[in-house]
Symmetry: none
Subunit: 409 residues, 2 copies
């Protein structure tokens, strides 16, 4: 069972808006055993919509269209569907009554242009919109079921759940998706360790992706029941996690900051941060986790050297002798931070984010990360490539990961 | 001049990831007078990629493909392009040397599977990847120029800017793009002030977009010479800036943090930050600007109440009486921060980012921002809607903007 999802809107093609509907619909369809084989985005153009719908109906059993159901002249999805179906647009009295009611209960007058929203191709069925004015449309084109939904995400989701999902073919198979996030190995290194599991048409089907600095192993497990699919996924996930060991951070919504937070919470320990080149990014990532006040005390952004001395007690002569970007200063920052905040753990970060400020000896991208803990201080040296933004993000993620490994070790 | 953008990736079709590349590319192309007429997403499937590329090349002059250039068995974009071109994949020695070097300077061993990343269709040209292992590909299919870029957004953007964009102007004639960024008015309010300039087919063509918290007026000026196009853009930009006044931050690469930095630099003044709910985000944004060490001293992430007292000198009884999230504590944080860091200006931020921790009196999203300066302290109260991430970002941007207005005032 295959699906094609079509997003309609000039704002998508201009880049002014990002299409999130297609990802939502794909996930919903996959959970019901229906694989999206393509996403298409077309502009607010009657012929483009008609062509896309006709073509999709020729190569998939399910077609879902979002957007272009508004009342204005540039909303042409219903006209496009009518053209693809070779049908006239006819007034759906029940939809008109609902639209009139939508305005009435809000104490507003329905504008004449909203009448077009009650038009659907002859032979199609209107889908009620409980959170907006635009009814959706359910239709059939050749062998395909075609569903047209509003573009506003919350209206689209409400309509999909209430009125499309119950109409989807009763399929025996379901797909359960799982993500195992890792940090510390490259995409190819991760793939090399599980290459024998990444076979085409394997079940679960396994792929490796890179997103937001993490290398993620994605699994799609297909079975007759969601229980069986989950059992099957569990078995393979267990094997993958065994092979990858400590680079595994967690599953699904897990992030590095979340993983560190869980480890600190479990031990009842507290963390503080001191950052130079990352300027507060480590603290920001740590506190992106709800409830992080349970273990995160606070931090110092020690951007100027005087702050490294005044707030963290780093020796001025050490800075002069070794430079602010040095193993010794990173260690002194973390050590001073741990004392100042009376925390169990402290992170110290210093480096050259660029684009200027590098030398032959200390190039742009050079960073030192120090982890101070109950057993002492450990310093790590890295040279990260990339823009200022990328260097800073990689540094912050690496810092949190070094702490994670220290907490595991 | 028409473009079709193709995103490749099973993770996109499964809904596990959202395609942001196509919107970025559309915007970049539009700024150069090239209209994206469709976005297509296909899976990691050689035939699907080949079909999509061939079809796109048949109906657009520019085809940009992203994703599927990784080293693993499920990365099949280069094979798909080769199939569409009827060409063999051949080893590009220069690319191989670059990939080997990428691993060498990181002290890592190149895996044999990475060798595939140096393969390109015979007759095509490799595009160097300065921030990852996958080179891109520039090719020609029929009358279309085809560019294949990595799927990782920052690698894709770097490659587009450095190696694709310079190849585009010779295809299109002269279009000069300008962006005027604003903060403080909604999209429709900005549009209302310049509605008479936003005419279809106007030259410069003007649109309003919302990105990363800023409302941006975009202009595309078309003329026979870049000088004429720029002159034309300057005239309209001047009029737009006059109408919008102090909400204008700057043009093109300008950010709020950059604008504040310029104002501080001009005055020879220094800034420090103290943050609670934003956890370091204000400092991170301020230091995202290269050279920010000229005016940014540092900051305190005062997450725990004890840090507000110990590091910033906020009175414990004040925190007990008014609560950590209060006008008085925000003011005391900013005041204490200014003294501690001996800076001219200090920002103090406290609030409830959620999703928990809100009460009837102090709901989630309530934030206080204090700006301490030579003339005293001013506190602002806001209630921001949205997720924890959104509340934090809006708070940080608002804080930087309040400082900007204080510096302008």
């Amino acid at each position: 069972m295959r699906a094609i999802i079509i997003a309609v809107g000039d704002e998508l093609l201009s880049g002014a808006a990002i299409d999130t509907n297609s990802a939502y619909l794909s996930e919903q369809l996959a959970a019901r055993g229906i694989a999206a084989v393509a996403h298409w985005t077309v502009g607010d153009d009657e012929q483009a919509v008609a062509d896309a719908v006709a073509r999709a109906a020729g190569s998939a059993e399910i077609v879902v269209v979002t957007g272009g159901l508004g009342p204005t002249a540039d909303d042409l999805t219903r006209q496009g569907l009518a053209r693809a179906s070779g049908a006239e647009l006819v007034l759906d009295e029940k939809s008109l009554a609902q639209i009139e009611n939508f305005f009435r209960i809000r104490g507003r007058q329905m504008q004449p242009i909203n009448r077009i929203q009650a038009m659907i191709p002859a032979g199609a069925e209107a889908l009620q919109n409980t959170s907006g004015t635009a009814p959706g449309i359910a239709s059939r084109l050749g062998n395909a079921r075609v569903f047209v939904l509003p573009g506003v995400p919350h209206e689209m989701k409400t309509m999909f759940e209430a009125q499309v999902a119950p109409q989807l073919p009763q399929l025996t198979g379901v797909i359960v998706s799982r993500a195992i996030h890792t940090f510390g190995l490259g995409e190819s290194d991760v793939a090399a360790k599980i290459a024998d599991l990444m076979v085409r048409d394997a079940n679960p089907l396994i792929g490796v992706t890179v997103e937001a600095g993490l290398v993620t192993v994605r699994m799609a497990s297909r079975a007759e029941s969601s229980q069986a699919a989950r059992r099957q996924a569990d078995a393979v996930a267990g094997e993958i996690k065994k092979r990858l060991g400590q680079v595994v951070i967690g599953e699904d919504d897990a992030t590095l900051a979340w993983a560190v937070g869980e480890l600190l919470r479990r031990r009842g320990q507290r963390l503080a941060t001191s950052e130079s080149c990352t300027g507060g990014l480590v603290g920001q990532l740590i506190t992106s986790v709800p409830g992080s006040s349970d273990y995160y005390v606070g931090g110092v952004v020690a951007y100027a050297d005087e702050v490294k001395h005044d707030s963290l007690g780093v020796d001025r002569q050490l800075i002069a002798a070794r430079g602010a970007v040095s193993e010794e200063v990173a260690a002194a920052m973390a050590r001073g931070c741990r004392v100042k905040f009376r925390s169990d753990w402290a992170i110290g970060v210093t480096g050259i984010a660029g684009p200027r400020g590098g030398t032959d000896e200390k190039p742009v991208g050079l960073v030192y990360v120090a982890i101070a803990g109950p057993a002492g201080v450990q310093v790590y040296r890295q040279i990260f490539p990339g823009t200022r933004e990328v260097v800073r993000m990689r540094t912050a993620l690496a810092a949190i990961n070094y702490l994670r490994l220290a907490l595991l070790g």
